[in-house]
Structure formats: C-alpha cells, structure tokens
Symmetry: C2
Subunit: 234 residues, 2 copies
Amino acid sequence: MPVAAETTMSSCPEDIKTIPERVFCQLREDIVEGRISAGSRISEAELAGRYGTSRGPLREAISQLAAVGLVERRPNVGARVIELSSKQLLDVFHVREALEGTAARQAAERMDAAAVQQLRDTLAAHEQRIGQDGGHTYFQESGDVDFHYRIIQGSGNRYLIKLLCHDLYYLVRMYRCQFGMRSKRGPAALKEHGAIVDAIARGDGDMAELLMRAHVRASRANVEQMLMEKVEVN
Amino acid sequence: MPVAAETTMSSCPEDIKTIPERVFCQLREDIVEGRISAGSRISEAELAGRYGTSRGPLREAISQLAAVGLVERRPNVGARVIELSSKQLLDVFHVREALEGTAARQAAERMDAAAVQQLRDTLAAHEQRIGQDGGHTYFQESGDVDFHYRIIQGSGNRYLIKLLCHDLYYLVRMYRCQFGMRSKRGPAALKEHGAIVDAIARGDGDMAELLMRAHVRASRANVEQMLMEKVEVN
DNA sequence: CGTGTCTATATTGTCGACAATATAATATCA
DNA sequence: TGATATTATATTGTCGACAATATAGACACG
C-alpha cells in the first residue's frame, strides 16, 4: 500500500483534455529533467514537430511556461529556457522557506484529525523505507516531497498551494536534476519531520512555522555547501 | 519631483510590442478594476472584438491570466473570472505577509546606501503628502504601494519580485477595488514604515522581517474588520 | 582590415477557416 | 407528465497560410 505514488504531484496526468495543456506538461517535464538544456533556445517549429501539434497550441504552452517562470520570452525573437544560477537557487529557497513556514502554520490551525493521521502514516512509511534500504535516495526524495505536499495541502490555502505545488516545486526539481543534488541528510530530515508533525497535531501554529522554516533553512544550507564543493572541484 | 508616478507598477506600459502582451495587460486591468465582473464568463469572440484582435493572441492572453490565477479555465467550456471570497483574500494576505517579510529581510542584507536613501525619500514624500491633505486616500495608497515596491525591488530576489509585483499585487488590487476598501490607518502605517526603513538601514534583517510581517498583519487585521462590518450591514 | 549597410533567410506574430465539444432546446417514450 | 434520448447551436480547440520582424552573411566603403 504505497501511499506515495498516488498523491505525489504527478508529472503529467492522463486526464488532460486539451493539447496546450498536454504540451505544457511535457515541455515542462523536458525542461525540468534537463532534456532541453538550460539556456537553450526554443524553436516553435521544431517543438511543434516533436510534440506532434501545430504552432498554435504550442505558443499557448510556451506562454504558460513563461508565466510560471521556466522560460523567458523576447518579442519577435523567441523563448529560451531560463539559466540557472546558484544565487537564484538560493533565492528560491528563501521564498520556499517563507511559504512553507506559512503552510505549516496554517496546517496546524486547519488540519483535522484524519488529515493529521494521514500525515503520520506518510511519515511512518517514509521511516520504514529509510530503515529498509538505508536511505536509498529515490524513495527518500519522494517521501520528502510527499510529506511537504501533504502539509501544503493541509494548509487549505489555495493560493499557497498553487504557488508551492504548481510553480515553485518544478523550479526546485529542475535545480535538483541539473545540479545533480540529492539530500544526504535523510535521518536528520526525518527527525525534523517528526517534530513538525507533532507541532501540527498539537495545533501549535507558531512552533510548526518555526520548525518548518528551520527545516527548509537546513536544506538550503545543505545545498549551499554542495554548491561550494562544486565550485572547488571545477 | 514626485517620485511615485514613475516607479509605481504601471498599469500598461507603452513599450509593449506584441498583441497578446497588450491584451493580457488590458484584460488584467479590466478584471482588476471590475469592469469585467468577478465570476463572469469570458467569451473569446466577444473579447476579440472588444480588443480589436483575432482569437489567437487572445487565447494566449487568457492562458497567461489563468497561469497567474485571475481566471479559471475549463476545457471546451471557457474561462471565468475568479470569484472573490473573504477567506481567499485573507489567505492571500497570509502569503503576502510571508513574502514581504522575506523581502524586507533580504533588502536589509542587500540594499546599498543609495537605495536606502531613495527609500527614505519615498517615505518623506509620503509623509509630506499625508501632512498636506490629511491623508487623502489616493496618494496614501499609491505612497504605500511605492514604499513596498521599493523594498521588494531592494531584496534583489528575482523570484520574490516576480511573485509580489507581477502576480500577487494584482490580486490584492482586485480585492481593494471590488470590496471597496481603503486603508484608514495612514499615520499608523507611516510610523511602521519608518521603523522598517530604520531596520533596513541598520542592516538588521531579523528586525526588518519582524516589523514588515507585523505591518502586513496589521493591514490584514484592518481588512478583516472591514469585512466583518460589511457582513453586519448586509 | 575594420565598420557600416544591405539583403536573404529563417523565425516569430497574426489571422481566418474548419473540426470537435458542450450546452440548450426539442422531441420521444414509458 | 416525467425522464431520457436527440438534435441544433454556439463556443472552444486546432490548423495551415500569410505578414512582420530580427538575425546572419555578403558586400561596399573608409
């Protein structure tokens, strides 16, 4: 009974009706996973071919990508995939810290008993996985994502949900994929998750926010360190 | 030498080249100001006529509006302007509190002397205006917006700037217009602004964030009260 | 040899026509 | 008469063709 798969923010849902929507998803995935390299130009004609559609729907998809911030558009010139810089990655983490902190606070205020229980289950599953395979990175990541996802949903704040789940996480994933970073702080993160759940269960919004912010901050520090090491290597 | 006009987030810049961009701006303005009423359906054909273009560019504009969250789209049915509820307004304020707090913190860390001076000037102009006309609401609003705008820009965090200046503020403005609320706490807000500037000038990020969050929270409390009064009246 | 201009080409921007879908109005049957 | 099936209509979705613009290359000139 893996809880993860179903609830994770799915890559490209099947129930997509319209072409622009489908292309938007696929294109986003290709960008995030690095199949279309950062900074590269996006040719409408070429992509129309690749995704088997005409340029109309494709332009719509590109518009949306631009609105979300994954590509940059210049009139009469075209669109390019955004460039990734360390500074911007850290800036994104600052935003994430603030937003996820608020999510945790509101989750503490609004989650009902059932939701809290589900959250506990997620955490337990995650714990078990780490125990089993000593923190095989993939499950660790997906477990982490699932945990955060649940809390964000639990906040019941639609705008927050939109920002974090629909916009920001794709950016974060893009960095993860392309800078090739996997969090190596599984057990530590797990403990922090536990404390956060407790605060939420208690209905202690202040503490939940505090802990979540610290958690994201620690994650950022981890990333920051990896970036430094990378610079040294190169 | 009014500082405000030039730097305020302009409604619809003149230097717009492409039609979708122009339509996006105009349509957004019409929605924000309530000329297209909340919850109403958006007919592509009708709007294409109104803005003097064909349906292609219009669809692109609608896509972007949807990505920003001002309209909701259903496949094969059409788009509607979002409905405004008190709960969602308050949720937006929660997000704003978190983001502007971060903006203030980063501004404190990153603004140079010149930028801080500009901020002071903005504040001084605002103060003078309030003194003159006893807080004529229009200038008060625009001064407030300008102040926040400067700090957000001062954070140097591109993602933050995008979220606050390009997405969130239009939502806030939409609520302001349609719920017809003007902040009646001019002098109080001004004091708070002063304290924030001091913290930023000092480079005290913690304090700047704390004060900014309190400031936004106070604004939210004000809005909350007005909402309650409204309910009573009706 | 460097610089500026001009032209050729490729790419984006825009449009109108046609296809697919949802909604509403109508008709049919128990 | 009520509910369901069916058609009609209006709206959205999609496409291919044409116009406008920017970029790269050739060419002339200082």
